[in-house]
Symmetry: C2
Subunit: 257 residues, 2 copies
């Protein structure tokens, strides 16, 4: 059991806080620039809300910064303790952001898409760990393993690559679902029609390499269908550009391999 202070109240902070609490750790405080946000999350975690970094408890064993990437440096700069273990939860930010706190710092990055509306089984969330020393890495690994079946040590460069890959696989895919949803509603059809397809596409990727199960007109280089779809999108130039770029990338990808 560790004593934790959580700095942040967004999606990641919320899900991580709940996972920490469920695993038996004690959340002492939740900090947010906006007191109401701190309060809302703190209540559900039996923690004290604060909105002033000068009120930070010295009692915690780990301080977890879970704010948007561009807000991390400001929080670090105001962090008052030199000898405390401090981590952030960002995929793209390196260890170097800790600057003056390099003695005991690290990264504690949960790779998942978190929305406040939806519970997540944290046991299945890969935890990516980096520590400023072997000791710190060991502590973070132990904490990660108390939350998840999958805890892996990655360096900052790998973690950034993983984050980029996640943007492609998750953020962009979800946006493609939104595009599909718009096309369906423009043509008076329900998004339900396409949900089984979305589920199956992701399910396939759980056991196969996605390259082995690519389907659709582009991988068949079916120029007739591609032309019809291109024509169909004639009044939606942005969607046309995406359609064109993705299809061409698929064609090239499979010609090469």
């Amino acid at each position: 059991m560790m004593k934790v202070v959580l700095l942040g109240s967004g999606n990641v902070a919320t899900h991580l806080g709940q996972a920490l609490k469920s695993a038996g750790h004690q959340i002492l405080q939740v900090w947010s620039r906006t007191f109401e946000n701190a309060q809302q999350l703190a209540v559900s975690l039996d923690a004290s809300p604060i909105s002033d970094l000068e009120s930070l408890s010295e009692e915690a064993e780990i301080y977890i910064i879970s704010v948007s990437d561009n807000a991390i440096p400001a929080v670090c700069a105001q962090f008052p303790f030199q000898d405390k273990l401090i981590v952030h939860t960002s995929g793209t930010t390196g260890l170097d952001v800790f600057d003056g706190h390099l003695n005991r710092c690290g990264v504690f990055y949960p790779l998942q898409t978190f929305s406040k509306q939806r519970a997540v089984d944290f046991q299945k969330v890969p935890m990516l760990i980096e520590g400023s020393s072997t000791n710190v890495t060991g502590d973070l690994l132990a904490l990660a393993k108390s939350l998840s079946h999958k805890a892996v040590i990655l360096n900052s460069e790998q973690r950034k690559a993983l984050h980029v890959a996640a943007v492609f696989a998750c953020n962009f895919s979800n946006h493609l679902y939104s595009i599909a949803s718009e096309i369906l509603s423009q043509n008076k059809m329900d998004f339900d029609l396409i949900r089984p397809l979305i589920e199956e596409t992701a399910a396939k990727a759980q056991t196969f390499n996605p390259q082995e199960v690519q389907t659709g007109p582009a991988v068949r280089n079916d120029q007739l269908t591609l032309a019809k779809h291109f024509e169909f999108l004639k009044d939606q130039p942005e969607l046309r550009k995406i359609y064109q770029l993705m299809s061409q990338h698929i064609i090239n990808f499979y010609q090469k391999s």
Copy 2:
């Protein structure tokens, strides 16, 4: 129970043939231009393989053309019967392809991503139906309902829109998984790391509208992270283009809404 002839031996023909057989229909023949392909599928369906359209049995109640879109017209042109029910399984091809067979023709389009390596629960596959007459539509609807919980009548224009939406949501998403897989392997990480994320992203879309659960740097308009990712992709201009186009589309999409 219907007597069926299957024209084609690809992924769709294979899964559809198996579903028809499981539902108690009788596959009389499987035709393919390549006899070995016809034979391979026919064996598993207790059907007779043929590679010559002149050998088509007159006994069937429905002839299902399941070949690539650009091969449909040639099969139609050689189809010897004027009064038989003939359908194709294409999302993008209209009823007009049947030309001289317009009396009793239709579309029988299963919306799913089929790979030969993987079994599909056909009960969950939406079946999109169009018939040249009320009678034909009724027959096709009955057949579709014997295979799937979800059978819906769509006109050709809607079906094309649905197919385009499916390309965005499924084919392009799967290719994004492939891109992620490449980025991971370039950086000595396993695709397993990202599989839970892919699963969760698709699972969210089963109950939410994807617009409600979009995450990532673009929807936050987090220019710092976008710039870092852009820099990360500096040696991969094609991926950079996709990253740029998708991110900008996300930014615009949520600014508008």
